[in-house]
């Protein structure tokens, strides 16, 4: 069986892109930091990391990466995983104060900073579909997914909220497995 060459782009405009690069490098996955439309060209996958969604959104617009990501994702030539701020940016609907412009890639509604300020940040151990052991992750000023469309698969819940979801080639996580050295979700994403 021919194996497709995987290059995972990591959007490196603002946020914790370096932790994703370190995790993927330890898995011997080819990684490309993405700061321009040219950087995105050879990528088969793209991680939009945690950071501030308002900041990343402005930088997506000024670089033209917003349109490039949307076009390739809709043409199914790019898989996208949005984490925390990234999950906000891929959602079709964003609620909460001063929402950023959305890429609108996955049919979910997400509420920014719904848990509250930093004192409400927490660690959790999650039961995730297709993963045979608990997955550790941190929730940092995390958003909450308040609605998922009918074609969205919920892979993990925390309390009553979906925290890892997927629809086709687009994934959204409200938590950070990469900060707890958890490779399993990244592995599932790359295999998709």
């Amino acid at each position: 069986m021919a194996t497709k060459t995987v290059t995972v782009g990591i959007l490196a405009l603002q946020g914790n892109f370096a932790e994703h690069a370190a995790l993927l490098a330890a898995m011997s996955v080819q990684v490309q930091y993405v700061r321009t439309v040219q950087d995105l060209e050879q990528c088969t996958h793209l991680i939009i990391p945690g950071g501030e969604s308002t900041t990343i959104s402005l930088l997506l617009a000024s670089t033209g990466l917003d349109a490039a990501i949307t076009d390739r994702c809709r043409a199914s030539t790019l898989s996208v995983m949005g984490i925390c701020a990234g999950a906000i940016l891929v959602a079709t609907k964003i609620t909460g104060k001063n929402p950023p412009a959305s890429l609108g890639l996955i049919d979910i509604t997400i509420d920014r900073n719904a848990y509250g300020n930093q004192l409400e940040s927490f660690d959790a151990s999650l039961i995730v579909s297709h993963v045979d052991r608990p997955v550790r992750a941190s929730f940092i000023r995390a958003p909450v997914i308040t609605h998922v469309g009918k074609d969205v698969e919920v892979l993990a819940m925390h309390g009553e909220h979906p925290v890892i979801v997927r629809a086709g080639n687009v994934w959204a996580l409200t938590c950070h497995p990469e900060l707890r050295d958890e490779e399993s979700i990244h592995r599932l994403f790359i295999a998709s």
Binding site: Q14, G15, E52, L59, G116, N117, Q118
Partner: protein, 295 residues
């Protein structure tokens, strides 16, 4: 195998600091300024009553800001809100924790409250960022529980030289650890009054264990690009934005320069026609050196 480092770490606070990387944290004194900062792309704001250049000009004792002002700023924006306490002022820190700021800056910009000790930060849930001028000072703050470090630079001067000095000094001192014998490293730990295991962990990683920003003197997009190219993980801009002639455009330009610090053509573009930078001061002419506050 190293023994575990004895100090208590604020892991969730260190995680929040990671989310700020590659970003610009801007000083704001009103809700209106906070909105300008957020719209320009700030990854967080520092809420305070007087920016450092005004503290320099007006003198007097500089204290924690009115909690009502901090709340008002927090209501106006969605990004993290930080606020400053005086060095060693545990009661001010408890007040900021009670009102739920996202990060506390134990800052030399305010008048120090305790001549002997910094705040024992490990007993707080809210994370702290602290200034440092050297590796030893950074490690003392991390031992006390700091979740993030920034260079001190010389706040309110619009002069980048001290920020560069502190960033390079810390980088060089970390590099020097690699060439030291075990006995020399033990002596360094004793001299700097820090845990030897913490020094060993820095040697192994080749960096500080927490996110490291630059502060104190950033006034232009080029200043931000300079410190990012020297290894800073993000920048604080204090007086540099709201003491300039066109805060909106300068703030947005500094955000662009922090992300695209390696793209000279883009830096030329964003540096063009953004009005007058803050006036700035020679370090040798200063009446007050803030970087020597704390130890």
């Amino acid at each position: 195998m190293l023994k575990p480092v004895k100090h208590t770490r604020n892991t969730l606070g260190e995680d929040l600091a990671r989310m700020l990387k590659g970003g610009v944290i801007m000083d704001v004194t009103t809700a209106e300024q906070a909105v300008i900062a957020e719209e320009a792309g700030a990854c967080a704001v520092m809420a305070l009553e007087r920016i450092p250049s005004d503290i320099r000009a007006e003198g007097g004792v500089a204290r924690m800001s009115d909690p009502a002002l901090i709340r008002e700023i927090r209501e106006a924006v969605s990004i993290p809100v930080m606020a400053k306490v005086r060095i060693g002022h545990t009661a001010e820190a408890r007040i900021l924790e009670a009102i739920g700021v996202d990060f506390i800056d134990e800052s030399e910009v305010l008048t120090p409250a305790d001549p002997f000790d910094h705040v024992q930060k490990a007993s707080f849930s809210v994370p702290f960022v602290c200034g440092a001028t050297s590796l030893g000072e950074a490690l003392r703050r991390i031992s006390e529980g700091a979740a993030m470090i920034r260079t001190k630079g010389e706040a309110g001067t619009g002069n980048i030289v001290e920020a560069v000095r502190h960033l390079k000094l810390i980088t060089r001192q970390i590099a020097a650890l690699q060439d030291m014998t075990a006995a020399d490293r033990t002596a360094f730990a004793e001299q700097e009054r820090v845990d030897a295991n913490l020094v060993e962990s820095v040697r192994e990683a080749g960096r500080l264990p927490v996110v490291t920003f630059v502060a104190g003197g950033v006034a232009t997009p080029a200043d931000a690009a300079l410190v990012m190219s020297l290894g800073a993980e993000g920048v604080f801009v204090g007086s540099g934005i709201f003491k300039s002639s066109d805060p909106q455009r300068r703030a947005a330009a500094i955000v662009q320069a922090t992300t695209h610090f390696n793209d000279a053509a883009l830096l030329a573009d964003v540096s063009s026609g953004i009005g007058q930078a803050m006036a700035g001061q020679e370090i040798a002419q200063l009446e007050l050196s803030m970087q020597h506050r704390g130890h």
